[in-house]
C-alpha cells in the first residue's frame, strides 16, 4: 500500500528549500470555514437581498403540498454532495512575508436510487488534493517552482488564497480564506459531476444537488435538477403584490406562516436584472415544527434552473415539492445537527466522499516536512 500523501513530498521540498517553514504545532491542524459555507454560498450567489414577485401560475403565497413517495412517482433519482477537509500544516516565510500552508481534501459524489430504494454509488467519486498558499505573500520564484512541483502530482492542484472568488469575498483571515477556497473548489467538482458524470440521465431522472445553484446552472440545458439548501441567507426581503395590496415580508415572517405540508410561492432570483428568474426558488416545510427547536428548522429552500424565464406551472412545483417532502423519512438524526432539513440520500453521498478522505491521524502521520533550518 503506497504511503498516503507521499506524492506531496516534492512540493514540500520546494517550500522548505525556497522559504523557511514553521511547521504547525502538533503537526496538521484542521481548518474550518469561518461561516456556515452553505449559507455563505447562498449569500454569494443570491447577491441581492430583495426578492420581488411570484413566478408561478397560481399567485397565492402558500400552497398545500402532498408528499409523493417513491412508490407513487419516483422523480428524484440522483443525489449529489460535495465535501472538503482542510488542514493547516505550517507557515512558509520569505523575509517579512508569510503564508499559511494548507492542504485540502476535496471531493464530490453522487448516489443513484433504484426502484426499490437501494442506493448505488455513481463512479467515479471525484477526489482531489489542494495545496493552498497566499500567492501575494510569496516570491514569483517560489511560486513558479511550486507550480512546477505540483504539476507532476496527480490529482493535486495549487491554489492561491489571495485570488478572489465570489465565495471567499469579504473574508480577510488567510486560513479561513483557504478553507473557503477549498469549498469553492468543492463546488467546482460538484458542478463537473452534475454536468459531466451525470450527463446520461433521462428527463425523468431528476438530480438533487446539496445546496443552492450558482451561476453555472443559469442556462442549464441538461437533464432536470434542483438544489436543496438546508441553510440559507436569512436577511432576505420579499415584496409580494403591488399597489395598496403590496406587502413586504422578511424570511422569518414568510416562514412563520409556512405550515407543515406547505410550500411558499416560487420566487425569482436576481430581481430586476436581465437574468431575473433564470433560477427560481421556493421554500418547503418538510417537517412539522413539533419536536423542533426553531421555526426555521424543518424548512428547505428548493432552487431550480428556469432558462426560459417563464412562470412555472404551480402543479409542477407542487409535484417537485411533494417529492422533496417525501424525502423526510428517514433522517440522519443524531449524525448531523442539520438533520431536520437534510435529505437522507444526500447525507449518504456526503458519507461516500468523506469515506474517501484520509483521517486526520493519517494526515498528521503522513505529512512530514523536510528538515527545516529554524531562524
Amino acid at each position: 500500500m503506497p504511503k498516503p500523501f507521499a506524492s506531496l513530498a516534492p512540493a514540500l521540498e520546494v517550500l522548505a528549500s525556497e522559504g523557511r517553514v514553521l511547521p504547525a504545532t502538533g503537526q496538521a491542524i484542521i481548518d474550518l470555514a469561518a461561516d456556515d459555507p452553505e449559507e455563505a454560498y447562498d449569500r454569494a450567489i443570491s447577491e441581492t437581498r430583495s426578492v420581488e414577485g411570484i413566478w408561478e401560475t397560481q399567485r397565492t403565497l402558500y400552497h398545500p403540498v402532498k408528499a409523493i413517495p417513491r412508490s407513487e412517482n419516483h422523480l428524484l433519482r440522483y443525489f449529489q454532495d460535495g465535501s472538503t477537509r482542510t488542514y493547516f500544516i505550517g507557515t512558509v516565510l520569505e523575509h517579512e512575508r508569510s503564508s499559511p500552508v494548507q492542504i485540502s481534501q476535496v471531493g464530490a459524489a453522487a448516489v443513484q436510487r433504484e426502484e426499490n430504494g437501494c442506493l448505488r454509488v455513481v463512479r467515479p467519486v471525484r477526489h482531489i488534493l489542494l495545496l493552498l498558499l497566499d500567492k501575494s505573500a510569496l516570491s514569483e520564484v517560489l511560486w513558479t517552482k511550486l507550480e512546477q512541483a505540483v504539476a507532476g502530482i496527480p490529482k493535486c492542484t495549487l491554489r492561491s488564497t489571495s485570488e478572489d472568488d465570489p465565495f471567499g469575498q469579504g473574508i480577510r483571515e488567510k486560513r479561513s480564506k483557504g478553507a473557503h477556497k477549498a469549498n469553492w473548489a468543492m463546488r467546482e467538482e460538484e458542478i463537473a459531476l452534475a454536468r459531466d458524470d451525470l450527463a446520461g440521465r433521462s428527463k425523468d431522472e431528476w438530480l438533487v444537488i446539496d445546496g443552492g445553484l450558482g451561476n453555472e446552472y443559469l442556462d442549464w440545458p441538461r437533464a432536470p435538477l434542483i438544489g436543496v439548501a438546508k441553510s440559507f441567507q436569512r436577511d432576505m426581503q420579499f415584496k409580494i403584490g403591488s399597489g395598496p395590496r403590496e406587502q413586504t415580508l422578511n424570511l422569518y415572517g414568510l416562514l412563520a406562516g409556512l405550515d407543515e405540508g406547505h410550500r411558499t410561492a416560487v420566487f425569482p432570483r436576481w430581481a430586476g436584472e436581465s437574468r431575473e428568474g433564470k433560477i427560481v426558488f421556493w421554500y418547503v416545510r418538510i417537517r412539522p415544527q413539533r419536536g423542533l427547536d426553531y421555526p426555521l428548522m424543518g424548512v428547505v429552500k428548493v432552487e431550480m434552473p428556469n432558462p426560459a424565464r417563464e412562470a412555472l406551472d404551480s402543479d409542477f412545483v407542487d409535484m417537485i415539492s411533494g417529492a422533496v417532502t417525501a424525502e423526510r423519512c428517514v433522517t440522519p438524526h443524531g449524525r448531523d445537527s442539520r438533520w431536520h432539513a437534510h435529505l437522507y440520500p444526500i447525507s449518504i453521498a456526503e458519507r461516500v466522499i468523506k469515506d474517501q478522505f484520509y483521517s486526520e491521524e493519517i494526515l498528521k502521520a503522513a505529512i512530514r516536512w523536510p528538515k527545516v533550518k529554524l531562524p
Binding site: 417513491r70 455513481v122 451525470l198 423519512c329 437522507y344 449518504i348
Partner: protein, 578 residues
C-alpha cells in the same frame, strides 16, 4: 455511471436467478478502528442477497494465497442510525408506518471465530478480503479433519469416526469426524452429552456414535455396556425400525449402515422384581426382550459393594463407613460373628448388629450408630426396594458382576435400571464400574492372558446422580468410582459415555475429563454456568435456539465447537412403540 456498487444492504434481492454460483463471494472482511480483526476472530459484511447462520463455516482469502477458515459465531445488523430515538424520529416521530423513500443504510455483519489457515498463517484477516462459504474440503481443513486423514495414511489405521453432518445455510454439507484417539484414548477419552433436547436426543446421539465407532473400527475389540435409565428406550436395540429413503441416505452420507445392533451380540440384563417370581416378568417397562437375563443382589454377593448402597447417605463422621468396613469384611472373610448372616433379613435382625430388636455395638461403632445403619439399610433393601434384593440367588437370577466379567469384544450389554430406586441404580452402576475397573486395572486379579476387549465403552444417562457437582466436600463411593474411570479409565481402555440435562450439575473433574462434549438445546440460565465457559459467549447464546436433532459438538481437534445433525436410530426405541 458504469462501475457502480451497491451500498444499501437492507434491501434483499429475492430473485434466485440473480444468485451467483455456490463458490461466489458472500462478502468482504471488515476491520474498523473500534472492531479490528485479530488472529482469533474477524468480521465480514454480507452481500445483500446472501445469508449465513451461526455455525456456518466460511473461508477468507488471506496472505500468500492461503485461506483462513472460521466459524460464524454471530450476525449483527447495523445501520447508520445513531440511536433508536433517531429511528423513531426518522419515522415522523413514530407516525410514519409506510416504507421510507430511501431505506436506512445498513448491513449484516457476521462475526467469525478463526478455525485454521491452510498455510498456518495466523495474521489477522486483512480488511476487504473476500469471504466465501467453505466447501466440504474447506470444512475439513477448518476443523483439522484433513490431518486425521493424513494420520490414517501415515499409520495405516482408521482414525476418523463419523460423528454427524455439518449442514450449512447454502446447503453445503460435510461429515464431521472425530479422532478416535481422542474418543477412546490414548490421547484423551470420554464423551459427555448435555441438554434439554427432549425425547431421547442425548441417548440417541450416544447410541449413534457407538454404532459409528463399532462400524468404523474393529468392533471385535470393543465391548459396550449401556445402562437403560428411561422406560424401555434401549431394550430393543436389536430390532430394526423401518426407515424412509432420506434416513437411509443420511446414514449412507456418513459412510455407515442403517442397521440395528446385531441380535446375536446384544445381551439384555434386566432387574429382578417383586413379582418376577410369580409373573416371570422382570421389573422393566414394556415387554422383556428375548433373550435376556435377570439379575438380582443377595447379601453374600453384595457384601463387597455394600458401600455403594450408602453412596447417597451423608456420613460426616464416617461412622457408617466404619461399620460398613466391619460388615463387609466380616461377611467376605466369613468371620465367626457373621457366620449366621446369610440373607438381608439376617443382617438386619441378628447379631452382631441386632439382638432381640436392639442395636448392638460393633467394634468401635456405638449401638446408636449401628441402629441408624440398620434403619438405612432396611429402607433400601427391604421397605423401599424394587425387588432386586433377594434372600438367595435362584437359578433364574444372575450376578451382574459375573455377567459383566464375561465381557466380549463386539458385544453390547444393556443393563436396565429404569424401574429401580435411586439407591439401587447407584448400586448397579457402581457395580458395573467397579467390576470393569477391576478387570482392566488388574485389581480383580484377572489373568493377563484372559482375553478382554481392548476397549470398553460404558454409557450412562443422568450422570449427575452419580457424580454430582456439589458433594459438600465428601467423596462418595460411587463418585470415587466415576472419578477413577474418568481420570484413569482411558489408560486401561475404559471409556465413559455419559449424559445429563445440565452440565453444571456434574462434578467438574468428570466434565473436565470428557474430551468430547456435545450440547443440545440448553436453557439460558444454564449456559451462563462455569462449565460452559469453554464455548465463546457468542456461541453459547445459540444453545438456547437449537432445534431437535441439532447438537453442538466440541472435540479437541476442533478449535471451535460445530453444529451437527445426526440420523435417527435404525432400531426400535421402546417409547416410540407405546
Amino acid at each position: 455511471m458504469a462501475d457502480e456498487e451497491t451500498t444499501n444492504e437492507t434491501q434483499v434481492k429475492e430473485s434466485a436467478e440473480e444468485k451467483p454460483s455456490e463458490d461466489s463471494i458472500i462478502g468482504r472482511a471488515s476491520a474498523t478502528e473500534r472492531d479490528p480483526n485479530s488472529a482469533e476472530k474477524f468480521a465480514f459484511w454480507l452481500r445483500p442477497d446472501f445469508r449465513v447462520n451461526p455455525f456456518d463455516i466460511v473461508g477468507a482469502e488471506h496472505l500468500e494465497e492461503s485461506h483462513t477458515y472460521g466459524l460464524v459465531t454471530n450476525i449483527r445488523h447495523m445501520t447508520d442510525s445513531a440511536s433508536h430515538l433517531s429511528n423513531y424520529i426518522s419515522n415522523d416521530f413514530g407516525e410514519m408506518l409506510s416504507e421510507p423513500n430511501t431505506p436506512r443504510q445498513g448491513t449484516n455483519v457476521a462475526e467469525v471465530a478463526v478455525l485454521s489457515n491452510d498455510k498456518d498463517i495466523y495474521m489477522p484477516i486483512q480488511s476487504e478480503s473476500k469471504v466465501k462459504f467453505a466447501d466440504e474440503g474447506g470444512i475439513h481443513k477448518a476443523l483439522g479433519i484433513d490431518s486425521m486423514r493424513e494420520k490414517e495414511k501415515r499409520e495405516h489405521r482408521v482414525v476418523r469416526v463419523p460423528a454427524g453432518v455439518i449442514r450449512m445455510s447454502n446447503g453445503a454439507e460435510a461429515v464431521a469426524y472425530l479422532d478416535v484417539d481422542y474418543v477412546l484414548g490414548p490421547e484423551a477419552a470420554h464423551v459427555n452429552v448435555s441438554g434439554i433436547s427432549g425425547l431421547a436426543t442425548k441417548t440417541s446421539y450416544i447410541i449413534f456414535l457407538i454404532q459409528s465407532i463399532l462400524q468404523t473400527l474393529d468392533a471385535s475389540k470393543i465391548a459396550t455396556i449401556l445402562l437403560n435409565v428411561k422406560y424401555d428406550d434401549l431394550l430393543n436395540i436389536h430390532e430394526p425400525r423401518s426407515l424412509d429413503p432420506e434416513e437411509h441416505e443420511f446414514w449412507e452420507r456418513l459412510g455407515l449402515k442403517a442397521e440395528p445392533f446385531p441380535k446375536d451380540k446384544v445381551h439384555y440384563l434386566l432387574p429382578w422384581g417383586k413379582n418376577t417370581q410369580t409373573t416371570g416378568r422382570p421389573n422393566i417397562f414394556g415387554d422383556p426382550p428375548f433373550p435376556s437375563t435377570t439379575y438380582a443382589y443377595s447379601l453374600k454377593e453384595t457384601a463387597d459393594k455394600l458401600d455403594l448402597i450408602f453412596s447417597q447417605v451423608p456420613d460426616p463422621w464416617d461412622t457408617i463407613g466404619s461399620l460398613l468396613g466391619e460388615v463387609m469384611n466380616g461377611i467376605q472373610n466369613n468371620e465367626s460373628r457373621f457366620k449366621n448372616i446369610i440373607t438381608w433379613d439376617d443382617l438386619l435382625s441378628k447379631p452382631p448388629l441386632m439382638e432381640q430388636g436392639i442395636p448392638q455395638q460393633v467394634g468401635q461403632v456405638r449401638a446408636s450408630s449401628v441402629g441408624r445403619f440398620v434403619r438405612l439399610l432396611r429402607r433400601v433393601v427391604k421397605t423401599r426396594q424394587s425387588g432386586i434384593f433377594v434372600p438367595q440367588l435362584s437359578t433364574k437370577m444372575t450376578r451382574l458382576d459375573r455377567a459383566i466379567a464375561d465381557i466380549k469384544g463386539g458385544h453390547t450389554y444393556v443393563i436396565d435400571i429404569a424401574k429401580l430406586k435411586p439407591d439401587e441404580q447407584t448400586l448397579v452402576f457402581g457395580d458395573v464400574l467397579r467390576t470393569i475397573y477391576g478387570l482392566y486395572s488388574g485389581e480383580s486379579g484377572v489373568d493377563e492372558n484372559e482375553e478382554l476387549p481392548e476397549k470398553v465403552i460404558i454409557f450412562v444417562d443422568e450422570l449427575n446422580k452419580y457424580a454430582p457437582a456439589s458433594t459438600r466436600g465428601q467423596e462418595t463411593p460411587i463418585l470415587d468410582q466415576v472419578l477413577d474411570i474418568a481420570e484413569r479409565g482411558r489408560s486401561f481402555g475404559v471409556v465413559l459415555f455419559s449424559a445429563q440435562q445440565f452440565l453444571s450439575a456434574v462434578h467438574p473433574r468428570v466434565v473436565g475429563n470428557a474430551a468430547s462434549k456435545i450440547l443440545g438445546r440448553t436453557d439460558s440460565a444454564e449456559i451462563n454456568e462455569g462449565p460452559y465457559r469453554f464455548i465463546d459467549r457468542e456461541v453459547r447464546g445459540h444453545l438456547t435456539q437449537l432445534n431437535k436433532g441439532e447438537l453442538i459438538l466440541s472435540h479437541p481437534i476442533y478449535r471451535q465447537p460445530v453444529k451437527i445433525m445426526f440420523p435417527r436410530p435404525p432400531f426400535q426405541q421402546g417409547r416410540a412403540r407405546m
